[in-house]
Amino acid sequence: MAQATAHHGEHEPTTTGLNHRKMLMWAFLGSDCMFFGTLIATYLVYKNRSITGPLPEDVFSIPVTTVSTFVLLMSSMSMVLAYAALTRNSMKTFRIWLASTCILGATFVGFQVYEFTTFANYEHKVYCADVGVKELTPLKQQLAEKCGTEDEHNGVVEEVVGLTPRTNLFGSTFYTLTGFHGAHVTLGIVWLLSLFFLSFKKGMVTPEKNLDLDLAPLYWHFVDIVWIVIFTVVYLFGVFPGF
């Protein structure tokens, strides 16, 4: 919902001097905070209450998610650069950075898709030599019982125990939370792409008329920040003991 109201808003004098749409965006983000807050709260309430595995420590791969987190953070940076380019009125640079923001965002979503499919088909491995030496998760403990039987190959027991939204409480809460975050990112990409294509039409995106370039980054950075919270609370606290 872009140009008409934007135009309208820019001309209308307001009590506070702030633009209507910008204020609406802030109100929306406040509301969205409660939305994610509730999802995260649900996740935390059900942490460690799953009856069956897999659990976070079984499936999470912190290095992979760190990379995807880094990608998303970089997208925020390129968003800033795009905005800066627009204010300098260099449309070409602006388009490059805007497109790279979209690509980085899409990469993050791609990571998420990869992660979801991996989790759903996760192959659990237990090295029988570790049994009794290392601390094992309950699921691995269960697998370890097969050590010494004919299921064991070269000292390793393997089994696919996928994590789906139906598997356990962890699955339900994890996929719902991160899925909605992914949906937010996807929506942001659609918005940014719309702006990207609009910028080719004369006069649609200009330094003077850049309100959407005020709002879209606001949204984009917000979604980024939410991810940092999710990464910390879900991934890091999920894997490192003591949380």
Binding site: M34, N168, G171
Partner: protein, 620 residues
């Protein structure tokens, strides 16, 4: 600026049905909200009447157990989401821009979208009566009674989808009104000069913005459980039914204030007007409203005192809940301070406003009674609570809404209602209401649980149930008189003039009904109750005060033009929502809804700019 992706001109229907469908005028949308919500209020009333007839005597068999359960669930959901909230929204729409001296809300099309989406949500809920049974798990929908194992029918799904759609409508409206109130006040209208109704609307909308996402998430989780076999509330997989209760009441308690704060705002307008005195302790009332809203977030577990939270949480929530009585008391006392020493004119709005104070006090006191967990252990889930909620929401919210309807009726229609009928309506409603609900206190203390479709003759509940049903019938007669009065007066009431009540706030400074642009010239505000002060200043100076300014010569006022797209987006939401009710094989329908919605959102975005000249260009 002339490149349009969707070069459909804006509609220009000055009158007729298309005018109502495409309107983005906040006053018309307010009327649409009001009329729709009142019709829905009547449906909720009929549901209540059926229940009361079933309970009029012991062991009756007028409706079946299953139907009874659907009736009380639908009654609760209807009255809260389809009656009181949208009736309040009707006043937000009509009154707020007038009170702050604005020509419209900040986002007129978003406002139309809120209305149509609300209507879509209402239809989704109400059609569930005809699609194999309405929801039957209570308006609170406690897990695991809402699970697919317990409740395989589509009633619960209709309920979930309807509440989600209504949530979108409420959130959109709230963003809109927050921005409007912050950003569109007339020059000089500082926050501490805002009319009290605007203040309470502001606070209410903050609550909506923060509370609705919580129920949205809870409903999403429930929907995922039901449709995709997830485990959020699945006991067999370790899910905890109490989590639903927490999520529901974290939303549900602020929701209570969402229902009552606008009513308090309306009363705070009427009492000063008809007492000819300014509101007593304006800052205290504003602050009390804010404190209520803030503390409303810290008391949700008082709905769960019997859930077994343990004595320490129960103690904490007992104390916070008792504490919330203090700001509520401040409001009541300040209203009385407003009337004290006044020159009280008992027009119908004033009667309803005083009735509100009298009845809300009873509801408030019974509220304190079950804020104390120990005595609540006996009252929770009994008719005592039913009595309490109706004293707060009928004697409170609905009385205030009736007061508001009578108060602003001349402003909305330009005509005066019949005062005699209004008084008859008030007294019949008052008597019927007290007969219907006061005895329910006795029933509750006598151990009658709520939500039971039958009871045995030996329980000693026969008399008061009979009285209660008789009261509801009297109440219904009162409502009929009200409708008669409104319909008749709307068509041929006396002309009211711009300022029939010697009003205090800006809406009375313009003609009735207000012209499309509201204010010929945006007023500059120098005082709280500015219009009253302006009139008195001019009287002192010996200048006669006209009953409103606003000559019809300002034809060049810039007003946004009507639009089709808000309605189309709402239709998309409606179709998409219906699709979600039937997950198997119906996603195709959802996709149709999503497609319509997406196209409409883009069309909305690229709709021709509403400069008058440009609008003409587009029309060529």
């Amino acid at each position: 600026m002339t490149t349009m992706a969707f070069p459909i001109p804006r509609p220009t229907h000055p009158t007729g049905i298309w005018n109502w469908i495409t309107t983005i005028d906040h006053k018309k949308i307010g009327v649409l909200y009001g009329v729709t919500a009142f019709i829905l209020f009547l449906t909720g009333g009929i549901e209540a009447l059926l229940m009361r007839i079933q309970l009029a005597g012991p062991n009756q068999d007028i409706v079946s157990a299953e139907i009874f359960n659907q009736l009380f669930t639908m009654h609760g959901t209807t009255m809260i989401f389809l009656a009181i909230m949208p009736l309040s929204a009707a006043f937000f729409n009509f009154v707020i821009p007038l009170q702050i001296g604005a020509r419209d809300v900040a986002f007129p099309r978003l406002n139309a979208f809120s209305y149509w989406t609300f209507l879509a949500g209402a239809i989704i809920l109400k059609i569930s009566w005809f699609t194999g049974g309405a929801t039957n798990a209570g308006w609170f929908g406690y897990a695991p009674l809402t699970s697919v194992q317990q409740n395989p029918g589509t009633g619960i799904d209709y309920w979930i989808v309807s509440l989600q759609v209504l949530g979108i409508a409420s959130l959109a409206a709230s963003f809109n009104f927050l921005v409007t109130i912050i950003n569109m006040r007339a020059p000089g209208m500082s926050f501490m000069r805002l009319p009290l109704f605007t203040w309470m609307t502001f606070i209410t909308n903050i609550l909506i913005v923060l509370a609705f996402p919580v129920i949205t998430v809870a409903l999403i989780e429930l929907y995922f459980d039901r449709s995709f076999g997830m485990n959020f509330f699945n006991v067999a997989r370790g899910g905890d039914p109490v989590l639903w209760q927490h999520l529901f009441w974290v939303f549900g308690h602020p929701e209570v204030y969402i229902l009552i704060l606008p009513a308090m705002g309306i009363v705070s307008e009427i009492l000063p007007t008809f007492s000819k005195k300014p509101l007593f302790g304006y800052p205290a009332i504003v602050l009390a409203g804010a404190i209520i809203a803030f503390m409303g977030w810290m008391v949700w577990s008082h709905h769960m005192f019997t859930v077994g939270l343990g004595p320490i949480p129960v103690t904490v929530f007992t104390i916070t809940t008792m504490a919330i009585a203090v700001p509520t008391g401040i409001k009541v006392f300040n209203w009385m301070g407003t009337m004290w020493g006044g020159s009280m004119d008992f027009k119908t709005p004033m009667l309803y406003a005083i009735g509100f104070v009298a009845m809300f006090t009873i509801g408030g006191i019974s509220g304190v009674m079950h804020s104390m967990a120990s005595s609540d252990a006996q009252q929770q889930d009994t008719y005592f609570i039913v009595a309490h909620i109706h004293y707060v929401l009928f004697g409170g919210a609905i009385f205030a809404i009736f007061a508001g309807i009578y108060y602003w009726f001349p402003k909305i229609t330009g005509r005066m209602y019949s005062e005699t009928l209004g008084k008859i309506n008030f007294w019949i409603t008052m008597v019927g209401f007290n007969l219907a609900f006061f005895p329910q206190h006795f029933l509750g203390l006598d151990g009658m649980p709520r939500r039971i479709y039958t009871y045995d003759a030996s329980m000693g509940w026969n008399l008061w149930n009979g009285v209660s049903t008789a009261g509801v019938i009297i109440l219904a007669i009162g409502i009929l008189i009200f409708m008669h009065n409104i319909v008749k007066s709307w068509r041929k009431g006396e002309l009211a003039g711009g300022d029939p009540w010697d009003g205090r706030t800006l809406e009375w400074s313009i003609p009735s009904p207000p012209p499309e642009y509201n204010f010929a010239e945006i007023p500059t505000v120098y005082d709280r109750d500015d219009w009253w002060a302006r009139k008195r200043r001019e009287v002192r100076r010996g200048v006669p005060v006209a009953g409103g300014s606003g000559e019809d010569e300002h034809h060049d006022i810039h007003l946004p033009q009507p639009s089709y797209w808000p309605l189309v987006v709402a239709i998309g939401l409606f179709i998409g929502g219906i699709g979600l009710v039937y997950p198997v094989g119906m996603y195709a329908i959802s996709m149709v809804g999503v497609f319509i919605g997406t196209v409409a959102v883009y069309a909305w975005s690229f709709e021709p700019v509403n400069d008058p000249e440009e609008g003409e260009q587009a029309a060529h």
